[in-house]
């Protein structure tokens, strides 16, 4: 497990210090759409410059390296307990080596564990796969945008949001309108729709792992993703909330079946520094 541990430390390093190509491209084209000299333009220019600098000097893009979140596809026969232990060990090492900011705080004592491990920290989701290789996906996103997320239970009267996809659209716009620039836009927005609140929260976050150019298999949802993205950008909140055309880079929606009496919608917000990466072992 030693080699896997080191592989996970490398994954941490790559994810913390460089953005995926699709996000980089979306930032560049956002900057090209803004008026030169505007706050939007200069903000995006600094963000793009920072992206390059972090990659070249192998430093965290953002000081908030978040709550590390892992999704594992584990081949049959491999021990999930071993996987978890290896990830925890790699997390301690990565925190010291890269370094990452220690973010795990004990609820009762308010003490920071100092190494990004603790109860339920990092977050690890595992499922078994019939494939022979192990797939490890990692996402790091800061608390500024994590705190921006919202869960809705449709219908919502004040938004005139019914239990349908139009109601979902209103929920997403409401989340962005409420958070304005506080979660570091341009945002990437993940939406989960389904039967229970625990399930939709996870589903929404999983959508943030999709590439920006990934097209939803359900045509109706693909159209909704495009429409909501356009409408968010019509709000004019802009990069860091100081006005502009680029408020979001992408909207991704995932659905589960729901209960006849329930229609939960979770909106997960990610800042422009959506750090994600994959290790295939």
């Amino acid at each position: 497990m030693l080699k896997l541990r080191d592989g996970i430390v490398e994954l941490y390093k790559k994810v913390a210090t460089s953005l995926p190509p699709d996000v980089r491209e979306a930032m560049e084209s956002g900057c090209a759409r803004e008026t030169e000299g505007s706050h939007a333009f200069s903000t995006l220019a600094v963000q793009i410059e920072n992206m390059k600098l972090a990659r070249e000097t192998v430093r965290p893009i953002c000081q908030d390296t978040g709550v590390p979140t892992f999704w594992l596809k584990v081949p049959m026969g491999l021990s999930q307990i071993e996987m978890k232990n290896t990830i925890i060990e790699a997390t301690r090492l990565a925190t010291e080596k890269i370094p990452l900011r220690p973010n795990a705080v004990d609820i009762l004592t308010d003490k920071n564990s100092g190494d990004n491990t603790g109860i339920g920290f990092p977050i690890i989701y595992m499922e078994e796969t019939r494939e022979s290789s192990l797939t490890i996906d990692l996402m790091l996103k800061g608390a500024g945008c994590e705190n921006a997320g919202q869960t809705y239970k449709l219908p919502v009267e004040e938004l005139h949001a019914q239990r349908d996809l139009n109601g979902v659209r209103k929920c997403v716009l409401d989340t962005v309108q409420k958070i304005q620039g506080r979660g570091c836009p341009p945002y990437i927005v993940g939406v989960g729709i389904g039967a229970t609140k625990d399930q939709v929260a996870r589903l929404a976050k999983e959508q943030l792992m999709r590439r920006l150019n990934d097209i939803n298999k359900a045509a109706e949802l693909a159209a909704l993703e495009t429409r909501i993205l356009q409408e968010i950008n019509e709000l004019g909140i802009g990069p860091m909330g100081l006005g502009g055309r680029t408020t979001a880079l992408g909207v991704k929606i995932g659905v589960n079946h729901r209960h006849p009496a329930s229609y939960f919608v979770d909106v997960a917000v990610s800042c422009w520094a959506t750090r994600r990466g994959r290790l295939i072992w």
């Binding site: 963000q47 410059e49 965290p60 953002c62 390296t65 620039g181 802009g238 800042c271 422009w272």
Partner: protein, 199 residues
Amino acid sequence: MVKSLSLNVPLSPAAWRSLKAGDIVSLNGTIVTGRDRVHKYLVEQKPRKEDIPFDLNGAVLYHCGPVMKKTEEGYTAVAAGPTTSMRVEMYEAAVIREYGIRGIIGKGGMGTGTLEALQQTGSVYFQTVGGAAAYLADRIKKTLNVWKLDEFGPTEAMWLFEIEDFPVIVTMDSHGTNLHREIEKQSFERFSELIGSKQ
């Protein structure tokens, strides 16, 4: 045009008042950091001024929880972007009034309590670029001192930094203008149309 401000000598009240929302400013000199725990401590525990190893009167306070690296020469900031300012809204007006903080650097803007305190005391709120941690850390030239490192840890401690060409925008000034609120009002109009519109 970018205004350059030197913080090494305390700025005059007139200089603070002359800053207007929308001004692009380059900051030079010393600043202190403070986020959730520092704010709570200052307001609830009310430490005496002599217990704080640096002078907060007239200082600029940066909402930042940096990634710090310990070397033989001391601590260096590796990544140091702003954190969301709104989380300390309930303490900020008291910090401004009681400790004489004149400039706040953060992201996302703050509420009416802080805006009132800025107006009364002739102080300003600067926004810097969220997520630009490496870029901004490079503008921190030196770590001069730290307070509450053992008790709060490196993220929550109060650091005294020397900065050079640190880029900020005045987004809340001492004349009652809050750019964040203005953008929010504008976006609310479009939001209302989009919510009310037929599918």
